[in-house]
């Protein structure tokens, strides 16, 4: 013990203030926070109002500037004022504060402003949590593979920030590595939970009205221009997978909304009601599975004519498959159709009456044409044939950009412009048929599709949207007639690009000369499809299928829960064991020496705490004189390995260790 005059001064202890977590944030921590906010907000920017993007950018830059110049934070009232003004801005922009989009906008605003209020670790933790919420909210808008990669990157960034908040002295690279290794350890748990955690199909509560804004597809009305507008989009409407090779292109009529009511301009859905008969099985049915992109409408698409329906869907009188609620998330369903079925032979008078209805004072020239056709024909079939022949023989042009039409649109199209897209032909044809007394209706949907050679799925895009017609003939029922096929046979036999003149603007990818680009896109779309099918479309059904594959005969949520808990527990135990095991591998030399000590401790010759190896060896030799040589050699090797000069080569070191190991193993007490 030594005490000197210096004893009068208090001892210099490396003590810190009592409350941990109270210290203000360091500059490094604040930089990480700002970087996190940036990383979270950038992927969201395209979906936010432009003014909010600008505000967030200004906030982050301003915060960075304050940090750079070490200027103190603005007063709290100013930040609060900005929050109130921003919230009012959001309310004005969206006309509400409730719902998905305003909610995300508000969270964004708060995240940006919270950067000015990070005085303590607790504030900073709030930023981190907001960050995680905003990463999630990004999925409202997109869930592509790119988004998933971005999610992993942002999660890494935010987790690193959390680690730096906990220990500010962690160097950046080490912090990233730490967060990365934590996320890697989290990965098996994520996979396990993703595969086996019992899925609940949403929604749990009513969704705000704006939840599905921005989904596109066929609508329940058709007016000139409505389908040609869709034809400019190469977005995928749905994918189909056939159990056998897909039918010919000309048979691929994907039936959608059937429009029977005409008001002189637009075609609308007709009477509703359920069908009394499914398609008669005249021929071999075709089995296929459709993965439908969400379009916020209840109808499902099926080949003409559906013979077996998926659960939760019904067949209307118009042979249209309708789901119980609008399709708001990607939906997968199995279908069966009969391609050349005869349906509707015993159609009710109501339905036939509706299929003859026409507004009174429209299109006089078309009515006159109908009357003249009727006059020269012996039966209904001949009227149809003459009308189609008229389309074929006269100079009608199939084009994506038809001229605008006036009040008597059918007249103007048939006799003046003669340029139109499928909806013009279908509309005009049905009008003339009805005027001639033949029940007829417009069927909208998609026609054709292309097989992706990479994964074999048939892709049907919005640009495959089509309108055709059905006429009703006694004894034969409803018959499909596609007037477009008369003018542009390529449209039906090949695709849109083949049918449209080169001068028309077409989506880039559909142009035939860009073959290599198309190949690239096939690959990308096959990957997206796999992603959609197996990651985004992973649901209860797929879970059960997986469980059946694992040998559980009748899977339910209980089986899933039990499996999750068991596997999670095993995983946890394995990781814990690994954690505890690491100690032994730390220093082989120390482990060997301890083994030696344990052997001797059994005979009451354990090493005392203060004894070095030399003293210990001397005592051992005194206690066990006959083992002197063994004890001396073991101690000498140990001392050489522990305290000797650093051994140059790893080989010698290993030899030394194995020698020591051998001798200690041979040492029997």
């Amino acid at each position: 013990m030594r005490i000197s005059i210096a004893a009068l001064k208090p001892w210099p202890c490396m003590a810190k203030p009592r409350k941990p977590g109270a210290p203000p944030l360091t500059q490094g921590q604040t930089v990480w926070l700002a970087a996190s906010a940036c990383g979270v907000l950038v992927p969201l920017a395209p979906y936010l109002p432009l003014w909010l993007d600008a505000l967030c950018a200004v906030a982050i830059l301003w915060r960075g500037w304050l940090l750079w110049r070490r200027v103190p934070l603005p007063p709290r009232w100013l930040v609060n004022l900005m929050a109130v003004v921003g919230a009012i801005g959001v309310a004005i922009h969206f006309r509400t504060l409730l719902g998905k989009d305003p909610g995300v906008a508000l969270l964004t605003l708060f995240l940006a402003l919270k950067l000015f209020e990070t005085r303590s670790a607790r504030d900073a933790f709030a930023v981190v949590l907001l960050g995680f919420f905003l990463i999630l909210s990004q999925f409202f808008y997109t869930q592509s593979m790119v988004t998933a990669v971005a999610m992993v990157a942002t999660t890494l960034l935010v987790t690193t920030t959390l680690a730096v908040l906990q220990r500010s002295s962690t160097p950046p690279l080490q912090a990233v590595r730490l967060a990365g290794s934590m996320l890697l350890q989290a990965l098996p748990f994520m996979l396990l939970l993703f595969l086996f955690f019992p899925r609940v199909s949403g929604p749990l509560w009513g969704l705000p009205a704006d939840a599905y804004s921005g989904l596109s597809g066929l609508s329940d009305t058709m007016s000139p221009g409505s389908i040609s507008r869709l034809s400019l989009s190469d977005a995928i409407a749905f994918r189909a997978r056939f159990t056998e090779p897909p039918p010919d292109q000309v048979q691929l009529y994907w039936r959608g909304p059937v429009l029977t009511r005409y008001d002189g301009r637009s075609w609308r859905l007709g009477l509703s009601g359920l069908a009394s008969e499914a398609a008669a099985q005249m021929a071999q049915p075709v089995d296929y599975e459709i993965t439908l992109e969400p379009h916020n409408q209840p109808w499902l698409f099926a080949l003409d004519h559906p013979s077996r329906l998926p659960p939760n869907a019904v067949l209307t009188k118009n042979f249209q498959v309708v789901a119980k609620r609008p399709v708001r998330s990607r939906l997968r369903y199995a279908m069966q159709s009969v391609l050349d079925a005869h349906v509707g032979r015993n159609e009710s008078a109501d339905a036939l009456g509706e299929a003859l209805q026409l507004p009174a004072d429209f299109n006089p020239r078309a009515r006159a044409l109908a009357a003249s056709l009727r006059a020269v024909s012996r039966n209904d079939a001949e009227v149809v044939a003459r009308m189609l022949a008229r389309f074929r023989k006269e100079t009608f042009v199939y084009t994506l950009s038809p001229p605008l039409l006036g009040r008597d649109s059918v007249d103007e199209f048939l006799f003046d412009t003669r340029r139109g897209f499928c909806e013009h032909y279908a509309s005009a044809f049905v009008f003339v048929m009805r005027a001639a007394g033949i029940p007829a209706r417009v069927v909208t949907g998609y026609q054709g599709g292309e097989v992706n050679p990479v994964d074999g799925y048939l892709l049907v895009r919005q640009l495959d949207a089509h309108a055709w017609t059905e006429i009703w003939l006694p004894q034969r029922g409803w018959q499909r007639v596609d007037p477009t096929a008369e003018i542009a046979p390529n449209r039906v036999e090949q695709n849109l690009a083949a049918a449209i003149p080169q001068s028309d603007a077409l989506p880039l990818m559909t142009r035939p000369e860009l073959n290599w680009l198309r190949q690239l896109r096939y690959r990308w779309e096959a990957a997206s499809n796999a992603w959609n099918q197996w990651v985004l479309g992973y649901d209860e059904q797929r879970q059960y299928a997986l469980l059946r594959l694992l040998g559980i005969p009748s899977p339910d949520w209980r089986a899933l829960g039990a499996l999750t808990a068991t596997a999670g527990g095993v995983l946890m135990l394995a990781l814990t064991a690994w954690t505890l095991h690491q100690r032994r591998r730390a220093d082989p030399l120390h482990a060997l020496w301890q083994r030696f000590e344990r052997k001797l401790a059994k005979r009451g010759l354990g090493r005392a705490m203060w004894e070095g190896p030399a003293d210990y060896a001397a005592r051992l030799v005194r206690a066990l004189p006959r083992r002197e040589a063994e004890i001396a050699s073991i101690c000498t090797i140990y001392q050489a390995a522990r305290y000797g000069k650093l051994i140059e080569s790893a080989v010698t070191r290993r030899q030394q260790l194995s020698e020591l190991k051998r001798r200690i193993a041979a040492f029997t007490s």
Binding site: M1, R2, I3, I5, A7, L8, W11, C13, M14, A15, K16, P17, R18, P20, K100, F125, L129, F132, L136, F139, F140, Q143, T147, A148, M151, T155, L162, A163, L165, Q166, R167, T170, L178, M182, L183, Q185, A186, L187, P188, F189, M190, L193, F197, R199, S201, G202, P203, L204, L207, A211, V535, L536, M572, T576, T579, Q582, R583, D587, H590, M609
Partner: protein, 326 residues
């Protein structure tokens, strides 16, 4: 009986006894086996869990498959952080270090040595004992770190190290892992030196009746504060001229026949209470040591013959610290 058993304080004591896995004080080295390391979420961890539940509901409601993936990834992160935090503390080995004596009122610093016997470092370990402050430390891989654990002192005598809490929230602060330890470690607390003390009793009373004025004038031995009655020619005028504001100093001399300074319990006024006497004696002992004098200490039962040096000072101060204590 049962009421006594269920009394919160008694329950807490029983918990700590159970948590320590042995009756305090524990023998060193103390090894934190997994049985004596506890893990619970922190407040931040609970909020994180709550946020995950809310996110999960959102993901289900909007059928966000990637939302499920994110929530599951973060849940996995939560589990991984439990393990990492646990691993940061478990298998830590603690031995005791030095514990220098202090004066009452100062912080006692208990030395603990934390040994990390594995290939990964341990970070942001925090320790505290009783009323003391938190001490933070990192231990690199295969290394030992000595820390000083501060504890405020009030009374002289031995201060036993109370139960020490060691905890860590590294790496993410969502989980707290902690353990208790109570090694046998005590700190000697000297009495607080008196603040306003009379000058050293040089030349004052010699109750043995010898050498009343036994100071030779041969060798200059040091300076002390001027007292009325000191010879004027012994006043250190030069030093007074250098520091006009300071008190006058008197030179004193140690000769062959000069007698050493005695700090004597019995010479203090009889009305003075024990603690004041001790404080005064400590003050004088330090002053004498600072002046480089040889000094002796005379207590009712013990006597230390005049000497100087740290060992002598410590012996005397220890006796004063423990005066009247068993």
């Amino acid at each position: 009986m049962l009421g006594q058993y269920l009394n919160p304080e008694a329950m807490r004591q029983r918990f700590y006894l159970w948590a320590l896995r042995s009756r305090p004080p524990e023998p060193v080295p103390i090894f934190f086996s997994q049985r004596r390391v506890y893990v619970l979420p922190t407040r931040a961890g609970l909020v994180f869990g709550l946020a995950l539940i809310v996110m999960m509901l959102g993901a289900i409601n909007y059928t966000l498959s990637l939302g499920h993936a994110l929530v599951f990834l973060l849940a996995g992160l939560g589990i991984a952080t439990i393990l990492a935090t646990f691993r940061n503390l478990v298998h830590l080995r603690v031995t005791t270090g030095r514990c220098e004596p202090v004066f009452a009122g100062e912080a006692a610093c208990f030395g603990l040595i934390l040994h990390n016997v594995r290939a990964a470092g341990r970070y942001d370990l925090r320790l505290h004992a009783g009323e003391g402050d938190w001490v933070h430390c990192d231990i690199p891989a295969n290394a030992s770190v000595a820390i000083k654990l501060p504890l405020p002192t009030q009374r002289r005598g031995w201060l036993e190290l109370p139960r020490v809490t060691i905890e860590t929230r590294w790496p993410l602060g969502l989980v707290r892992t902690w353990g208790y330890l109570q090694p046998a470690l005590r700190c000697l607390v000297y009495p607080t030196p008196a603040h306003a003390a009379p000058p050293l009793p040089i030349g004052s009373g010699d109750h043995h009746g010898r050498h009343r004025q036994g100071r030779g004038s041969d060798d200059f031995a040091g300076l002390r504060r001027h007292q009325t009655g000191d010879a004027l020619h012994h006043v250190a005028w030069k030093s007074a001229a250098r520091q006009p504001d300071a008190d006058l100093q008197t030179k004193y001399f140690a000769g062959e026949n000069s007698e050493a300074l005695w700090l004597d319990w019995a010479e203090l006024p009889p009305t003075m209470d024990t603690e004041t006497r001790l404080a005064l004696l400590v003050h004088w002992a330090l002053e004498a040591e600072r002046a480089g004098l040889a000094w002796g200490l005379r207590l009712p039962q013990r006597e230390f013959s005049p000497d100087r040096g740290d060992a002598h000072l410590h012996r005397c101060l220890e006796t004063l610290a423990l005066y009247g204590q068993a």
